[in-house]
């Protein structure tokens, strides 16, 4: 069988010589990267995974046992719409770009490379987690997330190979050369260089950081560059599962903690106290907010004007698509005080997208707080103020407390351990991380899920060890 017949796709790969030539070189490097940086210790195990073999409602969720290096990573785009238009910006209403417009080539490439870089990064961040899985169910979910991040990398590489010539091929190679957390060749965005070495980190990462991915993909899914829009639309269906893993994972930790709180001291009972959960939320939420970029941004204005990156649900939510004359008011730090400043809407689009994201995160918090209420516990979890602990944008370089009040660096340092995970917290959480791989069993610090995967029970053999 031809190599390309094994790659599920709806881009006519078996006929596309240009794409074949690019993949010929890249594919072996990708597999080397997967073996070197993919899940450590489980490459030869059978995992019950979902594979997209078609974009139709049946094909995108095909379940079977598969060894991860043999996973059929594929290339899928949402089917094209007739008469697609540029949906926003200065070229609103013109036919969508089917090829890269020369004047936007560099901007588009940068957008795609930045998005693409996050996909392999998270696989690298999570590669040791399998060894401490709380259950086979969770282990399988981890690997599902990992292989899909791999497929998302493929999706971005498809765009680079298909539309950006030699530069695109070079950038695709570079995506396999950078390494999360390596000071010499770090991943582009800082959240993707943070260690993700325990399962609480993993759930918080998939809840908060993957959710940034959802919003970036949603904004790109509106793009006037149609291949990008269609690629991102399909990726969003998979991204939803990653957030499900994070959202329900943290929810199950919260449920278990609440149960233990009723029995006695959570720590001595081997659970994760709520204040530690809160500090992990604070850490990952704030780092994930940075991923949206500066509050006031010339890039955001340029990308929107050019029709490259829209707003969240641009087509559905908005009736006016140029955003040319609107004003957005935000808080900025001036003379060491918070002051309101009016910014042209197009320059504030990062902040607008961040706002949508925060609203979505709040829903997750509400679900967890409902778990606490259902369990009869009075404590509640919350999101820190978006100004807290920021490293990018208007608030970087200033220090805020968890409620968003401007405070001195000394005070921040003094109170840091209240708000962010300490070494001690991290060590405690790590001390709980012992693998549970017996079918149907689960670690003591987390509650079992309400249901299994695709109708299978919790005690199904999701991974054959």
């Amino acid at each position: 069988m031809n190599l390309y017949d094994r790659i599920p796709n709806n881009v006519n790969l078996s006929e596309d010589k240009k794409l074949q030539r690019a993949l010929e070189k890249w594919l072996p490097n990708y597999l080397d990267w997967w073996r070197e940086m993919g899940p450590d210790g489980f490459q030869e195990k059978d995992v019950w995974l979902r594979t997209a073999i078609d974009v139709g409602s049946e094909g995108w969720a095909h379940f079977d046992y598969v060894k991860m290096p043999e996973y059929r990573w594929g290339i899928f785009l949402e089917p094209p719409k007739a008469d697609a238009i540029v949906g926003f910006g200065d070229n609103y209403g013109r036919p969508a770009y089917q090829e890269v417009p020369g004047e936007f080539r560099n901007s588009l490439r940068r957008i795609i490379v930045t998005q693409g870089d996050t996909e392999p990064a998270s696989v690298e961040q999570q590669r040791q987690l399998g060894k401490t899985c709380p259950s086979l169910y969770d282990l399988r979910n981890l690997f599902q997330v990992n292989v899909e991040e791999g497929r998302h990398l493929w999706a971005m590489v498809y765009l680079l190979h298909g539309y950006f010539g030699r530069d695109g091929r070079d950038e695709a190679d570079a995506l396999l050369e950078r390494r999360s957390g390596n000071p010499d060749k770090p991943r582009i965005l800082e959240a993707f260089n943070q260690p993700c070495d325990d399962w609480l980190n993993f759930f918080a990462f998939t809840m908060f950081t993957d959710r940034d991915g959802k919003y970036q993909l949603s904004a790109l899914a509106e793009s006037g560059f149609e291949p990008l829009a269609r690629t991102c639309q399909f990726m969003l269906t998979e991204e939803a599962h990653h957030m499900f893993v994070g959202d329900t994972g943290l929810g199950r930790v919260v449920r278990r903690t609440a149960q233990l709180m009723k029995e006695g001291d959570v720590r001595s009972l081997g659970g994760i106290p709520l204040d530690i959960v809160q500090r992990y939320i604070n850490f990952w939420f704030s780092y994930s907010l940075d991923l949206f970029g500066g509050e006031i941004s010339s890039n955001s204005a340029d990308f929107f004007a050019a029709g490259l990156k829209g707003r969240y649900q641009e087509a559905k939510q908005y009736t006016e698509h140029t955003a040319a004359n609107e004003i957005f008011t935000m808080q900025v730090v001036e003379d060491n005080q918070l002051k309101a400043r009016e910014v042209p809407m197009r320059n504030a689009l990062n902040e607008v997208l961040r706002g949508e994201y925060v609203k979505d995160c709040e829903k997750g918090l509400a679900r967890w707080n409902k778990v606490l209420a259902d369990e009869g516990v009075n404590d509640r979890l919350y999101l820190p103020d978006p100004k807290f602990h920021r490293h990018v944008g208007e608030y970087a370089g200033h220090t805020f407390d968890i409620h968003g009040n401007l405070i001195s660096r000394e005070e921040f340092d003094k109170r840091k351990a209240e708000w962010l995970p300490s070494m001690e917290d991290r060590e405690y959480v790590r001390s709980l991380m012992h693998p549970v791989t017996e079918i149907g069993k689960i670690a003591n610090w987390i509650a079992p899920p309400a249901a299994g995967i695709k109708g299978k029970p919790f005690d199904f053999e999701y991974v054959r060890l």
Partner: protein, 538 residues
Amino acid sequence: MINFQTAPERYQHWKLEVNGPVATLSMDVQEDQTLAEGYKLKLNSYDLGVDIELADAVQRLRFEHPDVAVVVITSLKPRIFCAGANIYMLGSSSHAFKVNFCKFTNETRCAIEDDSRHSGRRYIAALNGTASGGGYELAIACDEIYLVDDGNSAVSLPEVPLLGVLPGTGGLTRLVDKRKVRRDRADVFSTLAEGLKGKRAQEWGLIDGYFPTSKFAGGIDSRVAQLVSAQSANPSGIKLNPLEIESTSGSRHYKYIRVTLHREQRYADLTMLGPDGPQPTTVEQVQELGDAYWPLQAYRELDDALLHLRVNEPEIGLVCLRTEGRVESVLSVDQFLAANRDHWLEREIIVHMARVLRRLDLTAKSFFAIVEPNSCFAGNLLELLLASDRSYMLMDDQNSVAVSDLNTGALPMSNGLTRLQSRFLAEPDKTDEVFQKQRFNTEEAEEIGLITFAPDDLDWEDEIRVAIEERTSLSPDALTGMEASLRFAGPETLDTKIYGRLTAWQNWIFQRPNAVGPEGALTNYGKPTQAHFDYKRT
């Protein structure tokens, strides 16, 4: 009013660290410490205030730290070296200010190259992060460029694709003339907003090498160590003290420079006093006298006065250059300097004089030299006369001008020629005649062509008055263009190309609707609206 004087202990944006033979100049721009309102100096972008400190540091290294063999220019900001001139500052500045800003920053970069050429100090650009626009132009003024290879950091000249203007500090010229990057590659590089990273940047000759993050500091250190061992040690330096300036609304007085402003008539008198009293006769005495030594102090003051007139007195269109003192005193200082030019301090003093005189050549104001009997246009001060657009010498037996050894090549113009050579391009033998005769009264000076006009005392006052009134009535733009065209006859050098193209191309493009019109690229940078060009080629 913009003050060009500063000192390391007052720097806001740079840290100067001297460690034996190695100096490190680290850029750490404080974004709120701007010269004007309305912009923030983010990402190590700069305004004139930042560059004034850099110019001061380069100058100070030469006089105060002659033992330094290698200067490392780097940044204290993580992942960013320098983002170049601040775009919002440029957007909110008048055209005249932009031009003066660009000229000064160019002079600073040329001063780095001048130091490297004459004093042998090696400048290393240690790019610990992205160097874009003026950031890369600062790097390219150094002898060697090393870039961190972190998968992100790049060198770039994004002016054309991003802003619709040109790199304003010699970047394009240095790419092809200094680093000799192939023109087609330079074309690609200069239209690629995001620039090039380590490997390709080195292949194309844009940088000299690259190191991964963890080996960056070590890589720079070992290159520095190689360069240091190749240099011989120099003795200790002298201190450059702050200049004492008495300033009123109509005048600016230094010890050896007096500027009188005639605002109504839009001209100034600038009088430079020659050396007074006994002058040192050994290099040790000069070292002891330090910055109070006449040729150093007087020219530092002249430098400051020129910068002040350029930036703070834009409506003064004409400067009448005058001198006061004894011709013999100037000649004996010159004789001493010429005889001791191999000693580091005398060499630095001479090349400093040369730089200040070039600053005068490049100043967009008319200069008339006014030669009267108590004047001392001799030797180095004769260069003031030769640098002027024209000269008036009173017909008087007591009046004379003279040459010294310093006029033979120690004080070259940007075009690499002496001012006498530039003056006598049509009759090169005249320069030999001038050096044979050495001293000239008015009649002789007019005869050989050293001066323009020689009115007698009956006509003198009226001639000067009419000349001033006529000059200041002409279009200032046309005068600037005309003077710049006439001053630099003869061959081109890197410097003349840089200034010529700055004046002709950059300043033209800076004025065009495609840059600064309501739909221009510079106007719309960072705004929610996009640029729209008039695509007709001019």
